[in-house]
Amino acid sequence: EDKVVQSPLSLVVHEGDTVTLNCSYEVTNFRSLLWYKQEKKAPTFLFMLTSSGIEKKSGRLSSILDKKELSSILNITATQTGDSAIYLCAVEAGNNRKLIWGLGTSLAVNP
């Protein structure tokens, strides 16, 4: 059965810290891996990764895919309170290109 596992499930840090969130997967016919940020209600898109070893960056956030290890990490440097959110990982897989979602990592950044 296809699955996506995120770790840790929750994390509390102080402003200015750097955090690394993990997403590992076991799926058939991997196509892409996506990261979303869910602050209050609607998840918003962060990154889509398809190629191993190529880092995607957006400001203080970056992500990289390791197809050998079947995993991805999301890095946030110099965290701010506005980074507090649930970070969701999803993997697109299979011939029907279904999205399989992880449970998310709840990040709290304290001032």
């Binding site: 196509r31 892409s32 898109f45 697109e92």
Partner: protein, 116 residues
């Protein structure tokens, strides 16, 4: 620019009552449309998706149904709500790229449904 509207934001309904949640997308044509449910402490569960008018695929057997009467309108319904239908419901849309892979999903702001 594209926008997605989902309503209502919150809903409290008694067990056994009907349900209708509506979602509309503006600024794009022929979108793929999705209904997800997010229970507390769980990830997103895909309920239904649609690639065109009248075309609905159900991912899990349940007490709910979906309809797509117009290209950019997606409705989630139930004839009789159960306690287990409580949760956070999200509508989303995506556009298929030229290469046939899914583009990213754009989500509505969600409906918090409480069945009492």
């Amino acid at each position: 620019s594209q926008t997605i509207h989902q309503w209502p934001a919150t809903l409290v309904q008694p067990v056994g009552s009907p349900l209708s949640l509506e979602c509309t997308v503006e600024g794009t044509s022929n979108p793929n449309l999705y209904w997800y449910r997010q229970a507390a402490g769980r990830g997103l569960q895909l309920l239904f998706y649609s690639v065109g008018i009248g075309q609905i695929s159900s991912e899990v057997p349940q007490n709910l149904s979906a309809s797509r009467p117009q290209d950019r309108q997606f409705i989630l319904s139930s004839k009789k709500l159960l306690l287990s239908d409580s949760g956070f419901y999200l509508c989303a849309w995506s556009v298929r790229s030229f290469w046939g892979t899914n583009e990213k999903l754009f989500f509505g702001s969600g409906t918090q449904l409480s069945v009492l």
